[in-house]
């Protein structure tokens, strides 16, 4: 393969600098003893200390993590069930129809999802707060899990199932000892993606969260609306660290899964 010329290198470097500049800018000023993001006075860890002393903020972080883990776990379970259902459907057009319905929530703008769920919860009588946020996150993560698991199922040779059946395996055995082990990488990829979608979501949560309950994204939004606080910077430093760890985890699992399709939003 040819080596890149000087101009393409400069171009790529510029793109990388622009992509990372805001993130490192935030982290840089998280160590600033001054009170803004315009000039750096001296190095301090005060803002990190402030994050760990702010009980309200810590509760919100805890909420966010609990919502993410629970929603990822439940949406992965339901998503795997959905993928199995689609896989076992004999009727081609019915299968295509279910798949199209499945993908609606993936392409829907967040505002639409948020607004329609808000109406729905009000109609059913679900109190806005933890429950409504959790249910919403489960709901918008399910199609992503299906999309990650289904290719693995389709890639699996049907002879495996026939062989298991010929050897006298019950339906439960086929599921737990043949199918699930085979699609495990897809399940993990789906779980990780659901986790990150939940952690990253702002718009849907913003609509369905009540007064007393808040996640990190919503909290940052209301903090940012009032102006600059370096506590957010310290928080972003911590989040960046956690994200890198998550991405590495996902990358390792993804490499194992060798999923044929890229991650789409």
């Amino acid at each position: 393969m040819k080596k890149l010329g000087i101009l393409p290198r400069v171009y790529l470097a510029a793109v990388f600098v622009i992509l990372y500049a805001p993130i490192f800018y935030l982290i840089y000023y998280s160590f600033n003893s001054g009170d803004g993001m315009s000039h750096f006075e001296s190095f301090t860890l005060d803002h990190y200390q402030a994050v760990f002393q702010d009980t309200r903020l810590l509760i919100i972080v805890l909420n966010t993590v609990i919502i993410a883990l629970l929603s990822a776990l439940l949406s992965t379970t339901i998503g795997v069930i959905g993928a199995l259902m689609i896989y076992f459907m004999k009727n081609k057009s019915a299968r295509q129809a279910v798949l199209s319905l499945n993908n609606i929530l993936i392409v829907s703008p967040d505002v639409i999802i948020g607004a329609s769920f808000l109406i729905l919860f009000t109609l059913i009588g679900v109190k806005l707060g933890f429950a409504s946020v959790l249910i919403s996150h489960i709901a918008f993560s399910i199609p992503i899990v299906v999309i990650m698991v289904l290719p693995k199922l389709l890639e699996m040779s049907t002879t495996l199932i026939d062989a298991a059946r010929d050897l006298g395996a019950s339906r439960k055995d086929i599921l737990t000892r043949v199918i699930l082990p085979y699609i495990k990488p897809g399940i993990f990829a789906g779980f990780f993606l659901a986790l990150t979608y939940s952690l990253d979501d702002f718009a849907v949560t913003f609509f369905v969260t009540g007064n007393g309950f808040s996640t990190l994204s919503v909290e940052i939004y209301s903090m940012a609306r009032t102006g600059i606080t370096l506590t957010i910077n310290a928080l972003s430093g911590l989040i960046f660290l956690i994200t890198i760890i998550l991405v590495l985890g996902y990358y390792i699992i993804g490499n194992k899964a060798k999923s044929p399709q890229g991650v789409k939003k």
Partner: protein, 270 residues
């Protein structure tokens, strides 16, 4: 065969419930609510309102901004994706491009409030080179810039995948047959990547129509998109009927864009 058993899909109940409750029902309630006014009377007034000049202008400007955002995102992403496929450790570089998209959206937007602020580094730079400090935040420019920044990784990914699939022997063949770099690009590379470009446009244009957080934080309410209007009607004015009507149109636009950008043959770009 056991597969004739009508109960064979009984295990799929949770998924089926999800399909009905969280895919079909939300669309139904949005459509239903769009026919009610503030006091709960059945009416077509919301639709009449939508076709009034205010909302017409809003829709046009929303599309215009979404177009600008998609256009610049594509303009920056295509060469980036192209050069990325030429690098030695391309998967690693691609991962590095994607990492910023995993950082919380709100944090990146918040960073720009500082970067573009009156005393921020961009203005300090402009001051240093003699242009003098400008009001960058709360303008159209800042809104488009930050949105493009947010969407670039999502645009790069499908284009990269399409470029990566091209068999390199095709490029050699093109060169052997006497085509120069530009002709090779126009006649070989571009036609083979239009599907990637289309899915890139799809994942950028639809969300760009409905942004509302960036408009509030970066554009300071100067830019109003369909998304902002929906959020305003639902959470501020509490006029769910009007909000739902705008949402109905946003859903229609969404389907139109999907049809335009997903067709294997033809399509909007040639």
């Amino acid at each position: 065969m056991r597969s004739k058993n009508p109960l064979r899909f009984i295990y799929a109940t949770p998924y089926a419930v999800w399909l009905v409750l969280f895919v079909l029902a939300p669309i139904a309630v949005i459509v239903y609510y769009s026919f009610f006014d503030l006091s709960g009377h059945l009416t077509l007034a919301n639709y009449r309102n939508f076709f009034s000049s205010i909302y017409f202008k809003l829709t046009i400007s929303s599309f215009w901004y979404a177009f600008l955002i998609t256009f610049f995102a594509l303009l920056i992403s295509y060469p980036t994706a192209y050069f990325l496929t030429k690098t030695r450790h391309k998967q690693l570089w691609l991962l590095l491009i994607i990492i910023p998209s995993w950082i919380n959206l709100l944090l990146k937007t918040y960073a720009f409030i500082g970067l573009m602020g009156v005393y921020g580094p961009i203005n300090a730079f402009l001051e240093a080179v003699g242009i003098g400090s400008q009001q960058i935040l709360f303008t159209d420019f800042s809104f488009v810039f930050v949105s493009v920044y947010i969407f670039i990784p999502f645009m790069i990914l499908p284009i990269f995948n399409a470029l990566d699939k091209i068999n390199p022997t095709l490029l050699d063949a093109s060169k052997d047959l006497g085509a120069n770099a530009w002709v090779t690009f126009k006649r070989v590379i571009w036609p083979m990547t239009t599907d990637g470009v289309k899915s890139g446009i799809q994942v950028v244009f639809i969300p760009a129509l409905s942004l509302f957080m960036i408009t509030r934080l970066i554009a300071g309410n100067k830019v109003i998109t369909l998304g902002t209007a929906i959020e305003q009607q639902f959470l501020v004015t509490q006029n769910w009927g009007m909000g739902s009507t705008i949402a109905v149109f946003l859903i229609i636009f969404m389907f139109l864009i999907m049809i335009l950008t997903s067709g294997k043959k033809g399509g909007i770009i040639k």
